[in-house]
């Protein structure tokens, strides 16, 4: 890949042990890269380090060793605040702050570039499938699916190059999950966004395409491209996942 948006090389992450106990290894020697406008899905059992890996990409986590490059630059050479604007994170449980939807969309550090005009806010709300009338709604009164779409709108307003999605649909019921999947796919096409997602939802993976990375206990166990369709997938566990089986139930390689 000549010009990847995200490139991870030999990333290892361990947390220091609590009170003299040995360090806790979370990720070991993970490498991956993703083309500009591409998609990558991280799958694996709970506790396999998927979310931690995702959070290394916008430097919410600090690797112990290895490098993460975003748009050609080592993330350690970027201002983390600027990096996080360009690689916007959407979390599993949407966090909206006190106030209206407008207050939440406006929420940004002083000096954040971009258009935060009323017209633009409405435009982005429409992009995520919500009426502009929502601007005046109290954020606390929204449904889970609406909240998640507002957090996606909040991310899109900053014109990111990449969206990092941490199980964006797992806290939602199926109809709302489907709406969020649709929202993400549409935004991706319209904006040529690069997407890295942690998900248990095969539906989202099928929409995104790209590559699939299977993590078990912090190590890459399989890493395959989806271009040829599900049938071209060689790894049985990835096939099972795409067929709708929960990856939690899939045993790790002995």
């Amino acid at each position: 890949m000549s010009d990847p948006i995200v490139a991870v090389e030999h990333l290892t992450l361990a947390y220091p042990g609590d009170r003299g106990r040995p360090a806790v290894s979370v990720l070991t020697d993970v490498s991956l890269n993703m083309a500009r406008g591409g998609a990558l899905t991280l799958v694996g059992p709970s506790g396999s380090g998927k979310s931690t890996l995702l959070r290394c990409l916008n430097r919410l986590e600090e690797p112990t060793a290895g490098t993460v490059r975003f748009d050609g630059r080592d993330v350690r050479s970027l201002d983390p605040r600027e990096l996080r604007r360009r690689a916007a994170l959407v979390m599993q449980t949407p966090v909206l702050f006190e106030g209206t939807v407008r207050d939440n969309l406006w929420l940004r550090p002083a000096g954040t570039p971009g258009d935060f005009s009323e017209a633009r806010l409405s435009e982005v709300l429409i992009e995520v499938g919500l009426e502009p009338l929502f601007l005046d709604r109290d954020a606390a009164t929204l449904s889970g699916g609406e909240k998640q779409r507002v957090t996606i709108a909040r991310a899109l307003l900053r014109d990111p190059q990449a969206l990092l999605l941490d199980e964006p649909t797992s806290a939602l019921d199926p109809p709302n999950a489907a709406l969020v999947v649709e929202t993400i796919s549409r935004a991706r096409e319209a904006r040529r966004l690069s997407i890295v997602a942690v998900t248990h939802q095969p539906e989202l993976v099928r929409h995104l395409g790209g590559s699939l990375l299977f993590l078990v206990r912090g190590r890459v166990e399989a890493y395959e491209r989806l271009d040829g369709g599900a049938s071209a997938i060689g790894d049985a566990r990835l096939q099972a996942f795409l067929a709708g089986e929960s990856p939690r139930a899939v045993p790790a390689k002995p």
Binding site: Y15, P16, V24, N58, R59, L60, E61, E62, R76, P80, R81, E82, R84, R85, A88, L89, M91, T93, V95, F97, L107, R108, P109, T112, T151, R154, R158
Partner: protein, 264 residues
């Protein structure tokens, strides 16, 4: 003090009579199966021993009236208060001991210097009769407020981590991201002091004022001191909890604006 001669000196026999009050509590504990007898006994013995020891030390310091002895006593009090402030935390804050020592030392030193040097104008400045009890009051309250603030901050960091990380992911600095939690912790720490200012004298007579009145001071002299004490405690607790919470919040953040979740 003018009326000091009117104080009734309590004899050992009289203290023995006071101990009968604890005896009643022991009986109640036995009857009701509270299981507190042992603690009550140990507590009574500790009360007697600790206070006698402190009394002996203070009597020696008072009669020697040397500035370095006064400073030493205040330093020991600060060390004990530091230990007490951090020992109540659910999970140790990394470097919590140094943070608490710094917060308590600075807040006590600044408040004490102002009260002794500017407000009361004690001569000489190290007059133990003033410095030690006033330092004790500031430290005691500073310790409680720092512990309350630290406890609240820790609890909030744990329960509100997604909020903090959402702020960080939106490009806010670490300091900006924890600011709402710092504010909540400071409010929690300050509430007892502010409530105290609201109800002082009406709900209860504060210990210092009671002591002065018992010692024969006119209630009007006593309230003068009490008013100063309330203001002094407001300043001391605010400074201690602000320093403690700011420094403690910093320990949970990195220079790259990350929340060190593994510490929570």
């Amino acid at each position: 003090m003018s009326g000091a001669s009117s104080v009734i000196d309590l004899s050992l026999g009289q203290l023995g009579l006071a101990l009968l009050l604890v005896g009643v509590v022991v009986l109640v504990s036995l009857r009701q199966g509270l299981g507190l007898e042992r603690d009550l006994l140990v507590g009574s013995v500790r009360t007697i021993v600790q206070l006698y020891l402190v009394g002996l030390i203070l009597a020696a310091v008072f009669s020697a009236a040397r500035w370095y002895l006064v400073v030493l006593v205040v330093a020991v009090m600060t060390a004990v208060a530091t230990q007490a402030a951090v020992s109540r935390l659910a999970k140790p804050i990394p470097g919590g001991h140094q943070i608490a020592a710094l917060a308590l030392t600075v807040s006590t030193a600044v408040t004490l210097a102002y009260v002794i040097g500017v407000v009361v104008r004690v001569r000489p400045w190290y007059e133990p009769q003033y410095v030690i009890p006033i330092a004790g009051m500031i430290l005691g309250n500073a310790m409680t407020s720092a512990a309350l603030a630290g406890d609240r901050l820790q609890g909030d960091l744990r329960s509100r981590a997604p909020e903090v990380e959402t702020m960080l992911a939106l490009g806010f600095s670490g300091r900006e991201a924890v600011q709402p939690l710092v504010r909540a912790a400071l409010r929690a720490a300050m509430i007892p002091t502010v409530n105290g200012m609201m109800t002082v004298g009406v709900v209860q007579l504060p210990g210092m004022m009671t002591g002065q009145i018992l010692a024969g001071s006119s209630p009007l002299v006593a309230i003068g001191y009490q008013i100063m004490v309330m203001f002094m405690l407001a300043a001391g607790t605010a400074m201690a909890s602000l320093l403690f919470v700011r420094l403690a919040a910093g320990r949970y953040l990195t220079a790259a604006h990350q929340l060190r979740r593994y510490l929570l």
